[in-house]
Subunit: 386 residues, 2 copies
């Protein structure tokens, strides 16, 4: 096991009806800016439920945070927050809204150009505290300190994280996910799956608990993902998916083990240049990445084959082939295609993707920093069509 | 899944050499009381290593906290701390030292008789912050807010917990456990095992992640426990055990599921009246408890049989019998006997044990509060001899 530091101070309020407990989590007298996305939280009544739970605070609202939240939109919220002396933020939505709110939280007190937090790794000295009400289980942003922001002007999609950016609390009410469109449910399952894979499918360091936990989360996604699409109102299915997606990226399964994240980096460029959903890009890149990196990931791929897919017969290479095939089939079974061709993207798209990777310094990716641009090219090429 | 609140703010510094990082975790200028037990941390050099890591603080020491820490001993530390205006505590040792330090932390600012915190559930308003350096993986006290204290005068062993009593940080260096006597290593494995059982072997609520995590921890104990005894200097084995014991009782696997704890309550009385090690009492009580409660726990016992012990053949009752037999054999294989007779305790001991349970209000125990004194009597009787 590798040495690690683990610290996750976010308080989780989990279960049906927990939005009603929000009031006690925000300081009395706070000036609260509620942030949300395209308006589904208005339509579903979640926003009203949230506002009804707030007590003795002054409430402001900022809607319109888009999927893959942009710097340009978020800076409007920063200006509003500075103008109104906001001292608490409350994100109501999915990972994009929470990620965006983390940027707002850091940008409000930031001296200088806030984009430098992403582009230049400018140090964060303070942040406005914030909580979240999660409506889409997927990214894990509700219980971590990371965020991914896109600059619309240049199509740069960059990540940052900081210990001050853990939500103070997050409310996870599974019933709030009943009305999600199937595409978002499926995307959430794929997103959580690939988060786990990035922390699990590397090389063994005899970290048995982390491996068992990762496998337990993957098994839960395999068991519950299809049911979530078939039975949208099944509480326990939604509850299991919600808690799985949170635990997939809250630092726990990644503590003390190597981490990859190459799939995410290649995926981010696909979203930035072609507008694909984040999860779609992961479903495209992961199977190809596992194929290209099968030698380096051999031991963990064999463990994955046995413990997640119960593949025990055949040669080692046959079991690895089957595990990758099962992974792809699982994504496809959820309605998420796994080839670039399925999204109308051809070979001519690859050079610009590689240029963007190079421009973002993504030339030595993966758990051993040995995924070169040449290997990334192989991954994109292998992902073109079946 | 049941509704839950999960919050665990303890920062974990895990790995070889992490004691050196202590300095940065304690406020500069603090007046620090280091607490420890019988002196093994002096002999092994761990205490010196801790003191060398402390910077810009004034250090005081209080040794002699016993296994099953007593109110009488701890109050001496409280007096010292009050006299010296201690504002940070640092526990160096195992669960008893950390549990004791939690009581000291709460008692220092307590107005009135601190035993009332346990005996009368007197409310805690504040506590002195504290950290820990763990030397014995077992109780999980290093990452939870609970504590068990014994009043020597009356042999009352009682538990309390409070959100203010999470360690601010805990250092987990597996190499610090190399010199533990085999009995303490075995006890630690049993203790962690039963902590997990108390949160897992109840009734199903379709909490799949919690079940998978509990099973992963149990499997790790089964795999690594015997190796820890056979290869005391195997770093990865010690690391896996240490992290498993912490995660066995940090709130995670118990969030959203029923919890039992009847085995612990019956065990506490055995320690209080007969001086058995805490883990010995658990090894005695758990197999008998599972036998007596096999109807109420049927579904989870069958799941446990299959997923932890790989028992798939025979009737349901045969698989449950085998699972209980495997559990007992596992404890025995570690050198921890599982019958009262093995410790020289006979049937005449049972009425006083039941009297103590009654006196402590333990008349409706378990995940459904239906373990009566009569059932506790059956458990003790079944545990007498093979």
């Amino acid at each position: 096991m590798l040495n690690f530091t683990f610290h996750n101070p976010t308080r989780i309020l989990f279960g049906e009806g927990r939005i009603a407990d929000l009031g006690g989590e925000i300081p009395s007298g706070a000036r609260v800016l509620i942030t949300y996305g395209g308006g589904s939280v208005v339509k579903t009544g979640t926003l009203d439920e949230v506002k009804a739970a707030l007590q003795n605070v002054t409430v402001f609202e900022f809607g319109g945070i888009e999927p893959n939240p942009t710097y340009e939109t978020l800076m409007q919220a920063v200006e509003l927050a500075r103008r109104e002396c906001i001292d608490f933020l409350l994100a109501v939505g999915g990972g994009s809204v929470i990620d965006g709110t983390k940027f707002i939280a850091a940008a409000i007190p930031f001296v200088g150009e806030p984009w430098d937090i992403l582009a230049k790794r400018a140090p964060i000295q303070s942040a406005v505290p914030f909580g979240s009400v999660l409506t889409l289980p997927a990214t894990g942003s509700e219980m971590n300190s990371g965020s991914v922001i896109t600059k619309g002007a240049t199509q740069d999609k960059l990540a940052f994280m900081h210990p001050l950016l853990f939500p103070v609390f997050s409310v996870l009410d599974p019933t709030r996910t009943y009305t999600l469109p199937p595409r978002q449910v499926a995307n959430g399952v794929v997103d959580a799956f690939v988060h786990i894979a990035e922390q699990y499918l590397t090389y063994p360091v005899d970290a048995r608990v982390q491996d068992r936990f990762a496998e337990g989360l993957l098994l839960t996604l395999v068991e519950e993902g299809p049911k979530a699409l078939a039975e949208p109102g099944n509480y326990d299915v939604r509850a299991n998916l919600m808690w799985t997606a949170t635990l997939a990226l809250n630092g726990l399964i990644g503590a003390g083990v190597p981490q990859d994240w190459a799939t995410h980096m290649l995926g981010h460029e696909l979203t930035a240049l072609h507008g694909l959903d984040h999860a779609q890009t992961l479903a495209i890149v992961l199977p190809a990445m596992l194929q290209v990196r099968r030698t380096q990931k051999r031991d963990k791929l064999l463990q994955y084959a046995e413990r997640v897919w119960n593949l025990r017969d055949g040669s080692e290479d046959e079991r690895i082939d089957a595990a990758i095939r099962h992974t792809r089939a699982f994504f496809e079974s959820l309605g998420v295609p796994t080839r670039l061709a399925d999204y109308g993207i051809g070979a001519e798209a690859i050079p610009p993707l590689l240029d963007k990777l190079a421009q973002h310094g993504m030339t030595a990716l993966g758990e051993r920093q040995d995924v070169t641009l040449e290997q990334s090219r192989q991954v994109y090429e292998l992902a073109l069509s079946s």
